[in-house]
Amino acid sequence: MSFVEIEDVSLRYKPQGDDEGTLAVEGLNLSVERGSFVAVVGPSGCGKSSLMKLATGLNFPTTGKVTVAGNDVHGPVSIAGMAFQNPVMLPWRLTRDNIMLPLEVVEPHRRTFRRDKAVNRERADKLLASVGLEGQGGKFPWQLSGGMQQRASLCRALIHEPELLMLDEPFGALDAFTREELWQVIRDLHAARKFTTILVTHDLREAVFLADKIFVMSARPGRVIVERDVDIPRPRDISVTYDQHFGEIVQELRSHIAEARG
């Protein structure tokens, strides 16, 4: 059984006024193996964010079934970490305290949070160091650059050692150089910790560089139209993005998306 299993799922948002409710996804099938890295690409408005919410238990399917780690999803799964395009840090907390926020909320850490404060602090600082933010924990997030904030946001998503990492266009707002740096950061984190990762992105190169498998979604209502394994061996150096084979995969995906947009 796969780690994340989405079977024949449709999701219709609540009707508001005359609007009969948007059908975000329909007939969605998707499975993600434990420890693998998948990317979901598609035209805008194809229900990629709905997919995120379905897999983390923030939304429930109108029809169909979602299982994560072998359990039917009936509520927030709490083994997930999330990062978004907007790093959404709390400006009144130090970066380190922002990163420790999930520990204050998620079980079993929340019960021992106060007692283990020193351990947690150390953990946060180590994690910060692992994404290249050594010694920055004592700054406020707004004193960091956009790329640094996004790194910190990744740390916050990973502090409770989630088994599932959901990334919703996490590098979308960054400049090209910073973005490639962060690809490598996330690549190394994934290699070291083997958490299952679902990356939702618009950037095909990003998808091909990072993922083991890529799902292409159709326009709304979204469903998976193509599944493409990325047969580039790991570890991948950033230079593979200039290989011919890499370019071919990107081209192939691009043509699928062009079709999907109609």
Partner: protein, 258 residues
């Protein structure tokens, strides 16, 4: 460097402007021969303030006390109601129109009712100050809660956070700059409320003193009362402003207003 360059003009500006205003006022009264019972010159006003010093002081303290009591009630009640309204969109939808309606009632129209219930004296003044000043606090706290970033909410909800977690960790700290910002507005309104009520139905306070002075045709004293009110108002505003900076310095990070 000349002596002029060494002056901090930003710091000096408010004092210079105030002195300038009084100078123009004084001068105009002399030049245009304005009768003292229409517009007394500042010198006359200050003399009246000196002459009636003890009474003015006593009544100013009374007004200050009334205002701060009403304001204190407004903080407690406003914070509580703001959190309640911001808690859930349904509560927000249900109570917001009522709040607007209530706030639209001119408070001067409420004072007679308060007098009917509580008699003349300090009680209607405190209640008027309270009624007029709690609204901005409620609205600001509720707005702070209602504008939590959805992503932040998702991050926490996906971890199994309860509504209470989200409110205490994100919502309430987030609404604090709004809350402290609203205190500046609220204290000014509370002051208006207490003076308003004092001029209608009280037996002490600056408002009452003004009314008495007016009926005795002590025009300079009326103006002295006005100036006393202005000084009190500036003082209270400054205190609130200082508290705001102390409590929510993180929200003033842009440097835009420096």
């Amino acid at each position: 460097m000349t002596a002029l360059d060494r002056i901090d003009w930003i710091k000096a500006a408010p004092w210079l402007a105030t002195i300038g205003l009084f100078a123009i006022w004084e001068l105009s009264c002399w030049v245009f021969q304005i009768p003292w019972f229409i517009l007394p010159a500042p010198s006359k006003v200050f003399y009246a303030a000196y002459e009636f010093g003890p009474a003015l002081w006593r009544n100013s303290l009374q007004t200050l006390w009334t205002t701060l009591t009403g304001f204190g009630l407004a903080i407690v009640f406003g914070l509580f109601l703001g959190l309640f309204i911001g808690w859930d969109r349904r509560i927000y939808a249900a109570l917001y129109p009522l709040m607007i309606g209530f706030n639209s009632i001119p408070k001067v129209a409420v004072v007679p009712i308060l007098v009917l219930w509580f008699g003349t004296g300090w009680v209607p003044a405190v209640l008027t100050a309270f009624l007029i000043s709690f609204f901005p606090i409620v609205v600001n706290v509720a707005t702070g809660l209602a504008t939590i970033e959805p992503e932040m909410e998702d991050v926490l909800r996906a971890l199994g956070a309860k509504k209470l977690d989200i409110m205490t960790k994100v919502g309430i700290p987030r609404s604090m700059p709004y809350f402290f910002g609203s205190l500046k507005v609220a204290i000014t309104l509370a002051f208006i409320g207490s003076v308003l009520s004092e001029t209608i139905a009280a037996n002490s306070g600056v408002g009452h003193m003004m009314l008495t002075a007016q009926s005795n045709f002590e025009v300079p004293l009326v103006f002295a009362c006005l100036i006393a009110l202005a000084i009190e108002g500036i003082g209270m505003y400054a205190v609130m402003s200082w508290i705001e900076m102390r409590m929510t310095g993180w929200a003033h990070r842009s440097g835009f207003n420096r």
